[in-house]
């Protein structure tokens, strides 16, 4: 869904930019050339019935993309899975966002991490955390990730009493800065 959505948005952006470019050019362009283009389009696309279905499909695609974009804004995001347990007073729900924040705060403490993004997923009775990191140069990734995995596991378990199943660490890049302070 995510990939499909991105492709659709890319197609949409390209088409929209072509149309906007044409709109910008059209008042200043050579009138004859514009007329030629319009005539060509008129003759080949509008008058002849060869491309009727194609044009209809294009319109449909446009409509579909519009609907997808519209609905993506409306969709409720924060309802993505919570971990739920009960005590005598009522329910307690822990959102995936809180687990992500715990993982991030552990990652922030390390000086060799430039940027971190976390994602948490709840399984039956455990939680899986995926960290995506951009590190500074001269970091020992195996040592760092082992340390992170242990710390994240212990702090999530200490704070939430949830079992941590997996802590995946993806190193997405190494940050190179001209004036790095450290």
């Amino acid at each position: 869904m995510n990939l499909l959505f991105r492709i659709l948005v890319a197609i949409y952006a390209v088409i929209a930019s072509v149309i906007s470019g044409l709109m910008m050019i059209s008042p200043f362009a050579d009138k004859q050339i514009m007329e030629m283009i319009l005539n060509y389009a008129d003759l080949n696309l509008y008058r002849s019935n060869r491309y009727d279905i194609l044009i209809f499909l294009l319109g449909l695609l446009f409509l579909f993309v519009n609907l997808v974009i519209l609905s993506s804004g409306i969709r409720v995001r924060h309802s993505n899975k919570t971990y739920c347990f009960k005590n005598d007073h009522g329910l307690i729900r822990i959102s995936a966002n809180s687990i992500e924040n715990i993982a991030l705060s552990v990652a922030r403490k390390s000086t060799s991490i430039r940027d971190a993004k976390a994602k948490a997923k709840f399984k039956q009775d455990s939680v899986e955390v995926t960290l995506r990191l951009v590190v500074y140069p001269d970091t020992q990734v195996p040592t760092l990730s082992e340390l992170l995995q242990e710390n994240i596991q212990s702090s999530v378990e200490a704070m939430t009493e949830l079992k941590v199943g997996l802590v995946d660490i993806n190193i997405e890049g190494v940050h190179i800065a001209a004036g790095k302070e450290g």
């Binding site: 924060h78 005590n87 009522g90 329910l91 307690i92 809180s98 704070m159 939430t160």
Partner: protein
């Protein structure tokens, strides 16, 4: 807005859900380990417009004789969430019983996030 009747005291005392929500919200934010209440998207917009909302992140539902409160909280980093949640429930329950004389049946805690800003994490 629905309202709940104050049963033990005078019959014509009426305590609205809004009032209960304010009591619950203040009680919850005084519990150690609570960084704040989380108001959803709509609440965030209202806040940006300058409306101070004391009952932010609190939902009170009254049906005939039972009252249910939903609290959306952000917990401070370093506190055990089950303990904090239990403290909130106890605190809100006793506060509402004390101030409004209403017995709350269920208090649901929704932990929406964990606050890990620098100053807080250094204190703990």
């Amino acid at each position: 807005m629905e309202s709940s009747f104050d049963k033990p005291a005078v019959n014509d005392t009426l305590i609205t859900d809004d009032a209960l929500a304010v009591i619950a919200g203040i009680a919850a934010s005084e519990v150690p380990g609570v960084a704040g209440m989380s108001s959803g998207i709509a609440g965030g917009i209202a806040e940006a417009l300058g409306r101070v909302n004391l009952s932010k992140g609190v939902k009170v539902v009254t049906r005939e004789s039972s009252t249910t409160i939903d609290l959306y909280v952000i917990v401070r980093y370093g506190y055990r969430i089950p303990d904090v949640a239990f403290d909130i429930q106890e605190c809100v329950k006793s506060c509402i019983e004390e101030q409004a004389g209403i017995v709350v049946d269920n208090i649901h805690i929704h932990v929406q996030g964990v606050d890990y800003s620098e100053t807080e994490s250094e204190q703990t």
